[in-house]
């Protein structure tokens, strides 16, 4: 039975219990579901060629054996099978494959198989998200067959393109534009058409990457600010929208501000996903008048959790993946020594305030086991009086420090930066990079570079040249990086040039080299203090400022 039919067959209480009942599970009940489904997955995965390529002849039978025998994995462990789409080597037959960028510039894509069981669970959990995004209290939600959804996410083969298909399976929502049309459209064209249709039909749901939604909402605001005659504005629009427009115009004139999306649309549900959402959350709420609900989803893990009406943190679904967590201290040990196998804890062992890298085993015949997807979360609390439960909730922090993700678009690693530097042939002697936020709380990639002393005489190098040259090669290597500029108009690269010898001085002073990817802020200030030391005074040599 489709969700749409259930809407008329069952009461709200019954539907809430079916889709959002997981919120009131006890820890024990939640773990029972997790452990039981893991046993199924262990059986399927261990028997598959893919599983055996990692297990090397071992067959775990219990959770403990599974955690002991299966090492923590990364996509490289699966690449030979998954990139070649070897169906027969998988734990279960996939219904479709989705893809995403693997590592900017180094590996173009990574693919992940989706089984029927995974899709069913995905669908169920997406409906849960839909219910929760419209809810204002426990058991209260407002979904109607005639609602419209503006959907600012990439179409298939990206996992985001699955969501409209899954929803269409369950309810006759109208997507603006329809999923079929959207596949053949560019990003800007899609959003523009979406808003045009929204102006005619109304928008009840909005869903997308936080950064994209922010950009799209701003475009809408600026569209409204464009000089057009009243006739142009109201032509072809339904009466409801004309009335709303006129009221909004009057109100905004009175308040001396431009028309915001909230003046024209009354959203029932507002969902966003991706990295750096917290940078855009407040602005989005201001523009739409509704606080967006965060959900966690990804190519490998599917949809694994979402917030409730309280927006206090994300709750994980019990049946999408089996969750393990690497505590922060273990993560540090692993970063200091990559050969160190960090210890993990289970979902019911997390503590409030703890920061963890998540480790996932995709259930229902999924390919990934004890997989480091590269996301870091904070446990914001266990149990909520408002939500009436006693289970942990989380907040997404960012990617793991070895990856820089700007606004959910890029996945820049040490390898990709080295590659860009190599291609640009810039005489960079040393560098370190950190994801930072500007005064508007927008993310950017801050590259601290030191040039080769020997090349300074023969080359004309300024910060601008560096920025342009590196930017060109980042865009050349990484389509997503280019999209940042093309779609959102963001140039995420900022360069600080350090004087020659700064990195060497840092090493001498602190007895260690600075980490290349995302060093701690204090390490960056130590580096800058080395940069500021007057070499002439210190060593009696020429001060080599560039």
């Amino acid at each position: 039975m489709r969700f749409q039919e259930k809407l008329h067959q069952y009461s709200k209480e019954e539907l809430w219990e079916e889709y959002c009942g997981f919120l009131t599970l006890t820890s024990e009940e939640f773990m029972n579901i997790q452990k039981r489904l893991l046993m199924e997955q262990i059986e399927l995965w261990s028997a598959s060629e893919l599983g055996q390529s990692i297990l090397k002849g071992k067959y775990p039978r219990t959770l403990e054996e599974f955690r002991e025998m299966v090492p923590l994995t990364t996509y490289e462990d699966y690449a030979p099978v998954l990139l070649a789409k070897q169906r027969k080597s998988l734990p279960a037959d996939p219904v479709l494959w989705v893809q995403t960028t693997w590592e900017g510039g180094v590996h173009p894509i990574k693919t992940a198989p989706y089984t029927k069981g995974m899709l069913d669970t995905f669908k169920h959990n997406v409906i849960s998200c839909l219910i929760l995004t419209t809810s204002r209290a426990k058991g209260e939600f407002d979904i109607s067959v005639t609602d419209h959804m503006l959907y600012a996410l990439a179409p298939l083969p990206f996992v985001t393109g699955l969501l409209p298909l899954l929803l269409e399976d369950e309810i006759d929502f109208e997507f603006l534009p329809s999923a079929k049309e959207a596949v053949s459209m560019g990003f800007k064209e899609r959003n523009s058409l979406g808003f045009k249709l929204g102006m005619k039909k109304g928008i009840e749901y909005l869903f997308g990457l936080g950064s994209v939604l922010y950009y799209v909402s701003q475009s809408l605001t600026s569209m409204q600010s464009e000089k057009k005659s009243l006739r142009e504005r109201i032509f072809g629009k339904p009466l409801k929208m004309i009335i709303r427009y006129l009221i909004a115009k009057k109100k905004c004139k009175k308040e001396n501000r431009e028309i915001l999306p909230k003046d024209l649309f009354h959203l029932k549900g507002f969902m966003f996903a991706g990295t750096d959402n917290r940078c855009y959350k407040a602005d989005l709420e201001k523009m739409w008048g509704v606080p967006p609900m965060e959900l966690f989803a990804g190519t490998e893990p599917t949809c694994i959790g979402c917030e409730t009406w309280n927006r206090e943190g994300v709750y994980f679904f019990p049946d999408a993946c089996f969750y393990e967590f690497i505590p922060e201290d273990e993560l540090d040990k692993n970063m200091a020594d990559p050969s160190y196998q960090p210890k993990t804890i289970l979902w019911d062992q997390v503590v409030p305030g703890g920061i963890y890298e998540i480790v996932l085993t995709v259930l229902k015949g999924g390919a990934f086991a004890r997989y480091r997807v590269g996301d870091v979360f904070r446990c914001t609390g266990i149990g909520s009086q408002l939500d009436g439960n006693n289970i942990p909730r989380f907040q997404y922090i960012d990617r793991v420090p070895s990856v820089i993700d700007i606004a959910g678009f890029t996945r820049i690693t040490e390898k990709s930066i080295n590659q860009a530097i190599q291609l640009s042939r810039l005489p960079i002697a040393a560098w370190t990079v950190k994801k930072e936020f500007n005064e508007d709380y927008r993310p950017y990639m801050h590259l601290y570079v030191e040039l080769q002393r020997s090349n300074l005489v023969n080359s004309a190098i300024s910060i601008r040249i560096l920025q342009e040259q590196l930017g060109i090669y980042f865009r050349y290597l990484d389509q997503d990086y280019e999209d940042l500029k093309k779609i959102l108009g963001i140039d995420p690269l900022k360069i600080t040039m350090l004087k020659c010898g700064t990195f060497e001085m840092y090493e001498q002073k602190y007895g260690t080299t600075i980490r290349k990817m995302n060093p701690e802020s204090c390490e960056i200030s130590d580096l800058l203090s080395c940069h500021r030391v007057d070499n002439a005074k210190r060593e009696g040599v020429f001060n080599e400022w560039i």
Partner: protein
């Protein structure tokens, strides 16, 4: 009452009937509450109209306004009802409309603007109410139309693109049109005096009722309550007496001569009597119409309960349970799963002969977990909507869906889930529906208790008759069966095979009792798989099985026994991952009536035959013959096992000596030290002798190890070390064939075990290592250390004792080490000189 009063009477009766039924509903949903409010509004409308027509106290105008209140509120009532029916909790102006219509009514009360007061006209004794409507009445239609337009828009939004929602709302929409039609007709001159509006209201109420019924918002059984029967009885009585009380009173006074008080009393008594008679009659009628099936089902429940009360066979109970269920519904599939001792639920009964029996619920199956806390059955589609369902495995889900399971009923007794009934109806005809779910539940409750009792009984019987390990008939019950079968052979034959496993104790010592138990279970499976239903397999001793074979003559019993012997050999050979094992059986057969005239004799003869097989080299099948056992046989005098086999031992020692130059002298030295240690530890003389003999034989297994490994000058590789370790088992395999020396096996088998449990072959620790083995271990080590090998010099005895001291508690028994050190240091034991050929590494073999 004028001609059209019956419309009001019937309408009020219907409303009251529904009102009483729904008021008695437990935990009513919002939509039920609104429906009750709608009924109350209708009663006001019709009641007012009736009061007016009957010109009841206080006045026609009063009842006119009561009727108008109902009429004004019906639109807003409808509005609320539809919103609740759609489960739409948004306000949509509910409160506004409520107060608006109340306000409108109050306004009309004072102004009579929309609906004027009726003119009462009496013509020929008939009273009529004439409403002189003006066009103002159409003003009233404006807000009604606005409300209904808004309602239509809401309905449109809900139904657009949703066929199911539209179907659910269709009766409501139809009712709405009928009501609108009724209201319109009431204003036309042609219908003056006819309450078309009220009639349409009543019809509409039934459409609403039907819509709720279709949406399963209540069960029809709600209508059959005793309150409803009482309401009908009272109402009918009132209606009758309203018309006939006066004529009856006249008749009683005038014709029968009663006084007026007496006449009134009689009428009162009659009316009460009539209410009671009507009440009973109506209940009987309802039961006859609606509850006939229920009664039949009730009778089935009672009959079922009676039948199973004294049953002690689970199979029989399930059969009756299945038959009873099939009398109540048509099943495409009916599976009854019962709990097995391991906690799993297996199919114990099905109505399909060829049903796939691999359907199993594990103890952690979400359905089992659900039923641990819930006692009511549930439809699979409802279970699919629970959180528990989220932990279902994909294969479990497809199993249920492939079987087209529709409804599942737990069999629970004292909170224990003893089984589950799984049912699927025929195509388009569900097996479980609201009318028979209670029946399934009642049957399940009765049968759960019966199944539990019967299964406890069967388990007790099973425990009394069955062997725990193998599940075969046990020793005690074996004789009962043998006697029974012997009594019933008559013209046929009865053979008895006794199957004794050769050297099973030794097998257990070598490979552990766990593997021994596994062998016993395998043999049991071979036996049960080799016999037909009329034969019996039993385990009558630790290492002995019996087959009672009715109808088998000597020849067929022998063929069967040979076949079994070869199967056992084959299975044992392939059972272990460590490599092939050797195990044989000695089988003795005796058959009646050829060779025995009683069950006792049959057994004794078979037993003697087994004994004979053992004596004559084991591993054979023999048939009893009286010549085998002369009546007076002189028992041979007992000889020392060692002396008996001394020549063999020396021959073997010589062979080892030829292979390993260090071992022969070493064995004698070990025997010497071990015997001395045993003596110093105050052991009995015969133990000392065993230890000495074990010392001589402990390395006999090296005869099976490659010479190049035995004499390798350097350090052994892991594989070579593994090969060397095999010498312990090899030694035992050789000694097995010297039955009179098998008492040394425990010592030989355990002389490489370590006190801390890390030795081999069995990893025994502490006191679990036989004391003879612990002694041998110290003696073996001491001699090895103080000997010269081709890659190391001999250690001094002092250093060797130091090593023993260091290893006490880890490799060696600390107490025995202490005694041995004292023994050597005091010079009580003669230290054997070491020849250059004799030494081994510290990890001595």
């Amino acid at each position: 009452m004028n001609g059209y009063s019956w419309v009001s009477v019937i309408s009020i009766f219907c409303y009251l009937f529904l009102l009483v039924a729904f008021i008695s509903a437990k935990k009513p949903k919002n939509v039920i509450r609104t429906f009750i409010a709608m009924l109350a509004i209708m009663i006001l409308w019709n009641g007012g109209s009736l009061g007016m027509r009957l010109q009841l106290w206080p006045s026609v105008n009063f009842w006119h306004h009561v009727s108008l209140l109902g009429m004004f509120m019906v639109t807003v009532g409808y509005f609320h009802f539809v919103l609740d029916f759609l489960d739409d909790r948004r306000n949509h102006g509910r409160t506004f409309w409520l107060f608006f219509y109340i306000g409108l009514f109050v306004f009309n009360c004072f102004t009579n603007l929309f609906i004027p007061l009726p003119e009462v006209v009496t013509e020929g004794g008939k009273t009529q109410f004439l409403y002189h409507y003006t066009d103002n009445i159409y003003l009233l239609f404006i807000p009604i139309l606005i409300t209904l337009t808004q309602l239509t828009a809401i309905i449109w939004r809900h139904c657009r693109g949703n066929r199911i929602a539209f179907q659910q709302l269709r009766p409501i929409i139809t009712g709405l049109f009928i009501m609108l039609l009724g209201h319109t007709l009431a204003t036309l001159p042609f219908f003056v005096g006819f309450p078309a509006d009220m009639l349409s209201g009543a019809v509409n109420a039934f459409f609403l009722f039907y819509a709720m019924y279709k949406k399963k918002l209540f069960h029809m059984s709600i209508l059959l309550s005793k309150y409803n029967c009482a309401t009908i009885a009272v109402f009918v009585t009132l209606a009758l007496f309203a018309n006939f009380a006066a004529p009856l009173e006249l008749f009683l006074i005038d014709q029968l001569g009663f006084g007026s008080v007496a006449a009134m009393a009689i009428i009162a008594i009659c009316s009460v009597g009539l209410v009671v008679i009507l009440y009973l009659g109506i209940r009987h009628l309802f039961n006859a119409i609606f509850a006939r099936t229920e009664q039949q089902l009730q009778a089935l429940v009672e009959q079922f309960h009676e039948e199973i009360t004294h049953m002690l066979s689970v199979e029989d109970i399930l059969l009756i349970l299945s038959d009873t269920l099939q009398k109540a519904a048509d099943f495409d599939r009916l599976l009854i799963l019962t709990k097995e001792p391991d906690g799993e639920y297996h199919i114990s009964h099905t109505i399909r002969q060829l049903e796939e029996r691999s359907f199993v619920f594990r103890p952690d199956h979400p359905l089992v977990t659900h039923f641990k806390t819930h006692s009511e059955g549930l439809a699979l589609r409802d279970f699919e909507r629970t959180t528990a369902y989220r932990s279902m495995w994909e294969k479990e889900k497809s199993q249920l869906s492939n079987l087209h399971i529709e409804y599942i009923v737990p069999l629970k007794s004292d909170n224990e889930l003893v089984g589950v009934i799984i049912m699927a109806g025929k195509q388009n005809k569900p097996a479980a529906h609201p009318g028979n779910i209670w029946f399934f539940q009642a049957i399940a409750e009765s049968s759960a208790v019966a199944i539990r009792n019967a299964s406890t009984y069967e388990q007790a019987i099973q425990e009394a008759q069955r062997d725990d390990l193998t599940g075969l008939t046990n020793y005690k019950f074996f004789f009962e069966v043998l006697d029974r079968e012997f009594e019933s052979i008559k013209d046929s034959a009865l053979s008895l095979c006794l199957i004794n496993i050769d050297d099973f104790k030794l097998y257990n010592q070598m490979y552990g009792s766990q593997e021994g138990d596994m062998i016993l279970r395998h043999i049991a499976r071979i036996l049960t798989g080799s016999i037909n239903g009329s034969c019996h397999a039993a385990r009558i001793n630790g290492d002995e099985f019996a087959l009672i074979l009715p109808g088998y003559d000597v020849y067929s019993a022998k063929l069967l026994a040979e076949n079994i012997a070869s199967q056992i050999e084959e299975v044992v050979n392939t059972i272990s991952v460590d490599g092939p094992r050797k195990l044989s059986v000695s089988i003795g057969i005796c058959s009646a009536p050829y060779m025995a005239s009683s069950a006792k004799e049959l057994y004794r003869n078979a037993d003697m035959t087994v004994y004979n097989v053992k004596r004559s080299g084991k591993n054979a099948v023999q048939i009893y013959s009286s010549e085998m056992f002369p009546r007076k046989s002189a028992a041979p005098p007992h000889k020392s096992g060692y002396n008996e086999n001394a020549s063999t031992i020396y021959a073997l020692s010589a062979a080892i000596d030829a292979k390993d130059h260090y071992t022969s002298q070493h064995s004698q030295n070990v025997a010497h030290y071990a015997a001395a240690l045993a003596q110093a530890a105050d052991m009995e003389d015969d133990i000392v002798e065993i230890v000495r003999e074990a010392g001589l034989l402990h390395d006999i297994g090296k005869i099976g190890i490659r010479e190049d490994i035995l004499n390798k000058p350097g350090k052994l590789t892991a594989d070579e070390y593994e090969a060397i370790k095999k010498h312990v088992e090899n030694a035992v395999s050789i000694i097995r064939y010297l039955p009179s020396l098998d008492y040394v096996i425990p010592a030989v088998l355990s002389h490489h075990e370590r006190f801390d449990g890390t030795g081999y072959p069995n990893g025994l620790a502490g006191d679990a290592i036989p004391i003879t083995g612990r002694i041998l271990s110290i003696a073996d080590a001491f001699d090895a250390m103080t000997s010269i090998r081709n890659y190391k010099d001999a250690m001094s005895s002092k250093d060797a004792l130091q090593v023993l001291h260091q290893e006490a508690g880890r490799q060696f028994d600390p107490e025995l080490v202490r005694i041995f050190i004292e023994l050597v240091e005091s010079g009580k034991v003669e230290l054997r000189c070491q020849t250059p050929q004799q030494t081994t590494i510290f990890g001595w073999h």
